[in-house]
């Protein structure tokens, strides 16, 4: 009853607002976004390699096809880097880093490999990126005392990625 009355007053503009969230920033960290982006990089490289041969007779169509996919590859590789940077920079605290000192070198490797994937279309670089982000995800879930498992994606390129066992 009181809440309903206050709600009406709020709707009429008589109540000032303040933010009381525990989450500035939101406190929601999950490496799954980075993993899906890393898998997407592999997939886009596959599409580029597979699709280019069929368009070689039409240079305009080929250019358009490659430009579109190169742009998407760039975005997905950057997303990997951004998501990993946020988790590493904002989520990992001193006790976690002490428990997993390899996180710095691993994060740096992801940055380097992500850039390599942006610069070129070597599938082995993209596969290595997925592997590195998998390692990153396993460490992340260890900090939450959550077991993990690797399962193949139910879509191409059907690569194993880390999932929390919840």
């Amino acid at each position: 009853m009181i809440f309903a009355c206050l709600n009406q007053l709020d709707k009429l503009g008589f109540v000032d607002h303040a933010r009381a969230h525990c989450d500035i920033p939101c406190g929601i960290y999950d490496p799954s976004t980075a993993l899906i982006a890393a898998v997407s990089v592999v997939r886009i490289m596959d599409i580029m390699h597979e699709g280019a041969s069929g368009r070689s007779a039409d240079p305009v169509a080929l250019s358009n096809f490659l430009a579109r996919n190169a742009l998407r590859k760039e975005e997905e590789a950057e997303k990997v880097k951004q998501e990993v940077r946020i988790i590493w920079g904002d989520y990992f605290k001193a006790p976690m880093i002490e428990a997993h000192p390899e996180i710095h070198a691993l994060t740096h490797s992801i940055m380097q490999k992500g850039s390599a994937c942006k610069q070129d279309v070597h599938r082995e670089d993209a596969l290595a990126l997925v592997d590195l982000v998998n390692q990153f995800a396993e460490i992340f879930w260890k900090t939450k005392n959550t077991a993990t498992e690797r399962k193949k994606t139910p879509y191409a390129p059907n690569l194993e990625i880390v999932h929390p066992v919840l």
Binding site: F3, D16, D23, K93
Partner: protein, 80 residues
């Protein structure tokens, strides 16, 4: 500020500048605007704030605020 305050809660504040550790305060934060936090303590740099939830932004990121930025101290709240 869970579990004390949920999204959409109503809260009443007493306009008071004198606060002590543990008080829940409404502040005009220099970086985050009008926010509600708990007072962690007070030192030569000013008043430090903290959230009540484990995932809350750590006090070192919230920084210190001066007393003049305190709008009031929580005296009553109503959760849905």
């Amino acid at each position: 500020m869970k579990p004390l305050l949920e999204d959409g809660s109503f809260a009443v504040f007493h306009r008071a500048k004198a606060v002590k550790a543990g008080d829940v305060v409404l502040v005009d934060h220099q970086k985050f605007g009008r926010i509600i936090k708990s007072v962690k303590g007070r030192d030569s740099n000013g008043i430090s704030l903290m959230g009540l939830h484990p995932d809350s932004m750590p006090p070192e990121k919230l920084g210190h605020i001066s007393e003049k930025r305190i709008i009031g101290r929580l005296v009553w709240q109503l959760n849905q």
